[in-house]
């Protein structure tokens, strides 16, 4: 009984009257206009597919994960998408732990309807083996702080996390082509989901005076308002879902007016989400580049740091084959000079199109002379990545000259950055080389290795 009493936050008559009369003069308690949104802030976590959204004081966190499952019998070629919401009592004392209450279920279903029926996520691309294995995408939404308008914030969080989620790539293998091999992210770059459009939810609050409509209600306004409507639209002007679960009755005119308003706001919101995701993606890309540059060319021999450049690029089969060729050529020597390796890398780069960074772990390996070239070859072969060289032997030194010239043109800016990295690393990490460590997936370890 006491628990229940503690959960009850009651709105006082004074507060109610104050909010309503302020609205009559188009003023809201936090100073916004009736149709203004609160400040939106989207943050991303370290993992792919995790996002935290702050809309004013409301905080919602969302996480996307994927699993291989059997598809539904009536949709054998499509993957599945499911949304789970968790209303933690941390957000609001009236939320009870355990089974989701009515509002939690409603929130989950609104977001689900917006994404599923409007086909925002392409589920057919999630199918791997028809009628046997498909990806099941699961979105978990946790409410961290309830300050009103959970639906909009949760929707934005779900969209942001779906946009940054990367699922592992898998290929069919085995004798009959029926076995599925899932490649871990270190081996092959994980793929993003195919998202056709972004359905954004916009929530309106209605009050007993019909002309009062507010957008993005706060916690107190939600307690005062007599009706609400959530419209999910995308930037193209399609209405993906509407939820007006009873409450204050509204005329058609007001509803259409609200929908048009929602269209405008959805456009803004989509732009903001896309910006935030772009920024996050570029940061991730930059981080990977930095990682590669520091790990790459450690100049063990201390020669020509100026060759610079490396760029582990990685993925390209062209580069892989080139490396293989090179490998075959110089088997015997242990690698000594990174200069050669870096040159190699440069040449590879030139082959594969001068992309600086392709995403994928850099399989570079800074090796010292204790490396077993056979082992290296084996590991390289299994990886299927082209990595710059490991075993370049000093014979390669001749090579650097030609590629150096070619590459210089397009990698000039890279060189300077890299060379500095190289020289530093060469001195400090040299001693930390552990012969046993083959290329480590983590950047830190590869740095150490070298």
């Amino acid at each position: 009984m006491e628990q229940r009493l503690a959960n009850c936050w009651r709105l006082t008559v004074n507060e109610k009257k104050f909010i309503e009369s302020a609205l009559l003069s188009d003023v809201r308690v936090d100073g916004r206009g009736p149709l203004d949104y609160r400040k939106l802030n989207i943050k991303f976590g370290k993992n792919d597919g995790s996002a935290e959204v702050q809309l004013g004081e409301t905080r919602v966190m969302s996480y996307v994960s994927a699993q291989l499952v059997q598809p539904y019998r009536d949709r054998p070629n499509e993957g599945t998408l499911s949304i789970f919401t968790e209303f933690s009592p941390m957000a609001d004392p009236s939320f009870e732990p355990g089974r989701p209450g009515e509002s939690a279920v409603e929130l989950g279903r609104i977001i689900d309807r917006g994404l599923r029926e409007s086909r925002a996520i392409d589920t057919e691309s999630l199918c791997i083996l028809s009628a046997k294995l498909v990806w099941a995408i699961r979105v978990d939404i946790h409410i961290l702080d309830n300050a009103g308008n959970l639906v909009d914030a949760a929707n934005i969080a779900a969209l942001a996390s779906l946009l940054t989620f990367r699922r592992p790539e898998c290929s069919l293998g085995g004798e009959d082509g029926q076995q599925v091999v899932v490649h871990p992210p270190e081996v092959r770059e994980p793929l993003p989901l195919i998202i056709h459009h972004l359905p954004v939810a916009v929530t309106f609050g209605y009050f007993s005076n019909e002309n009062l409509v507010v957008l993005d209600p706060t916690y107190h306004e939600e307690a005062v308002m007599t009706g609400r409507m959530t419209a999910t639209l995308n930037a193209n002007g399609d209405v993906c879902a509407i939820q007006k679960p009873g409450g204050q009755e509204i005329s058609h005119r007001v509803i259409m007016h609200c929908l048009r308003l929602a269209h405008v706001k959805a456009g803004d919101m989509t732009a903001k989400i896309k910006d935030a995701v772009e920024k996050h993606n570029t940061e991730r890309a930059l981080q990977k580049i930095k990682r590669h540059s520091s790990s790459v060319a450690v100049d063990v021999c201390g020669t020509t740091a100026s060759l610079g450049g490396k760029q582990n690029q990685s993925d390209g089969d062209k580069e892989g084959s080139r490396l293989d060729q090179l490998k075959l050529k110089d088997e015997t020597k242990s690698m000594e000079c990174d200069a050669t390796s870096s040159a190699q890398v440069q040449s590879n780069k030139k082959d594969g199109s001068s992309k600086n960074f392709v995403g994928g772990p850099s399989s570079w390996d800074p090796y010292s002379d204790c490396v077993n070239s056979d082992l290296l070859k084996a590991s390289l072969a299994s990886r299927g990545h082209s990595t710059p060289s490991k075993k370049k032997d000093s014979r390669r030194e001749t090579k650097p000259e030609e590629p150096q010239n070619e590459v210089k043109i397009d990698s000039a800016p890279m060189d300077t950055a890299l060379t500095s990295g190289q020289s530093n690393e060469g001195k400090t990490l040299k001693d930390a080389v552990k012969p046993k460590h083959k290329r480590k997936k983590k950047k830190g370890s590869s740095n150490n290795a070298n």
């Binding site: 409603e106 029926e117 993906c240 509407i242 679960p245 409450g247 009755e249 509204i250 509803i255």
Partner: protein
Amino acid sequence: MRQIRAEIGAVSKADGSAIFEMGNTKVIAAVYGPREVQNRSQQMSDQTLVRCEYSMANFSTGDRMRKPKGGDRRSTEISLVIRQTVEACILTHLMPRSQIDIYVQVLQADGGTRSACINAATLAFADAGIPMRDLVTSCSVGYLHSTPLLDLNYVEHSAGGPDVTVGILPKLDKVTLLQMDSKLPIDILENVMQLSTEGCKAIANYIREILLENAKQLEYRRGV
């Protein structure tokens, strides 16, 4: 629109009850109340507490459904929707510190169950003598092959087009319930809503006739 049929007084124990049929969809609603609040902590001193429970019978769809263990999310949401819809139209402040329960059970499901439930609930409330501002009627509209279709059945619904469920207060001509899924451009939505409003008004006329008939029957039985 499909053929509508309604019957009042199906559940004798309840204060008010009704069966509503729209084509092959058949729904039964029972209202208990106003009565004493069973959970004192939820008692509201200025209005009545409305509780709603929606469930689909296992035999209502083509294949026998298994009841999901964790509480069906769809049922929870529809219960919430029905509750808030009727809460808006009954005069809750006339019955403070009391509770009204409405139980809706789907006996045959062929599309449009939500609408049938709300229509049945309205009839049941009227039968129970609970004061209301206006009837709430509801009907669903779809949009397939660039034609708005009134009152979708299951086959039309599974064709994948949008499904708009609208609940209105016919005399006041205001929209209470509006739910939509799947994609639809805004202007087409406007047309679709117009169509559904007309459908709802037609249902409202039918409901009024039924209530009038029922009232006459009651008078007759009382020997007036």
